[in-house]
Subunit: 304 residues, 2 copies
Amino acid sequence: MSLLVVGTVAFDTVKTPYGSAREVLGGSAAYFAAAASYFTPVRIVAVVGEDFGEAPMRLLGERGIDTSGIEIARGKTFRWAGEYSEDLNDRTTHATHLNVLETFRPRLRKEDVGADRLFLGNIDPALQAEVLRHVKPGLSACDTMNFWIERKNPDLKRLLAQVDGLVINDAEARMLAGEINTVVAAQRLLGLGLRFLVIKRGEYGAALFTNGHYFAVPAYPVERPVDPTGAGDSFAGGFMGHLARAGAADGRALRAAMIYGSVLASFCVEDFSLRRLLDLSERSIEERARRLRGFLSLDEPTVS
Amino acid sequence: MSLLVVGTVAFDTVKTPYGSAREVLGGSAAYFAAAASYFTPVRIVAVVGEDFGEAPMRLLGERGIDTSGIEIARGKTFRWAGEYSEDLNDRTTHATHLNVLETFRPRLRKEDVGADRLFLGNIDPALQAEVLRHVKPGLSACDTMNFWIERKNPDLKRLLAQVDGLVINDAEARMLAGEINTVVAAQRLLGLGLRFLVIKRGEYGAALFTNGHYFAVPAYPVERPVDPTGAGDSFAGGFMGHLARAGAADGRALRAAMIYGSVLASFCVEDFSLRRLLDLSERSIEERARRLRGFLSLDEPTVS
């Protein structure tokens, strides 16, 4: 099944206790698409500046990602710079230059309409809603962040009544629901009209809430995490990628998708930028998925 | 199988955003024993002061807990007072009065020797080792805290080479291993000679590490947590209680024990002190265990 992602493509400058990277490929749509590309054909709708260049475009293209929906606008590519704490759990943003993102309006082509699966990355919820209205996908999910929760709350709530799913961070879920307790927060968010809600918990994994059901998946344990940037977007990419591949979104498919989300996030953090994500094999993905299923099994797997 | 716990019995004064409780029954051994009492006969070895009184002793006795090993020493019972943050994740200690605990040396009777299962609650690791040497149990596990990690590190390391398992908080596991990454920390701790390691992660559940295997259990989602005091000890009680009931400690038994640990911790936080823990039914425990297994299942349970 076809999967369309609308989001950001960026140049990131990142410092972690394990090293640093300058002006490297990043952005929610890039991480998402790279992760999802192992499961299904992916198309990106995004904007970059004239300085983007051919090399990063080629990197994405080599993974079979359709980049023809990435608009090249006058101006510079969106840039983010930040630094992570010793345990990688906290980050400080040093600079955010929206550049071409400031006036971004997703341009949809005829072939984008009716995509089977749509993921609305973290952009203005009014734009997310506009895309959703045009694409009319078989299944849709979105992400968001504190900035939009504070500044565009009514738009965001309207969007949530229209999408099927929300894939969001722990802290942002609580903020959006106005409730500290995750269980109560989840119920409130489902009450806005969502069919499913994925709450990402960083190194503690992620939880899936649907009406009357709950599923939790641990983070795949990584010995040498290097850079957590994009882990949440990679989770979403693995998750939606599997849902596209499965051609289903019932309880069983959603649970399997959580496994793949966790697996792709675990690869993402093993290197800076999309380096590790762009260099995986289906075999290595399936191997981690198998091990992760073993971490949930009530019987100890015979092979660890 | 018989289960012996050595630890503290205390009077706690607790304030949380949901209320407060003054001079109520607490302490690691009390929480542990209450949780374990639903699975197997439990004996407590601990010390209290002359002010302890009959009422709390009767509360424990009514759960079938053998309190005859609780020594009544001259002086006052150990007291702790503290307050929890809005989200219940952080706590500030207002007062710790060791009182009779200061000179506590566990008194073991003939009948304590050869107990099938032994849990060494959070006391001086030299005393924990002494108890272990005398009891020579079929299976043993211990807890510890930052105070002992800092002050009695060599004693603690020696103890860890002798017990079968360690049940410990996330932050303390990292501190003890001298390593921020949980996976690497777990490997180091197993390397000290442990057969199994349980890392408790509060609202994120707990993880089991054995040689070559990993298992993660989410916290049972509680809508109205009131007081997290004793949740970790209740986890340990449910965990060791199930291991005693099962009469086994293989991979399958350890995984099932994690489920019961999580279930008992979830009941513990629903009220102050041991109120909820002392008032459970086997049916309500099994019901939560069934639901929790469903949260791990790759197939959505037919009844939620």
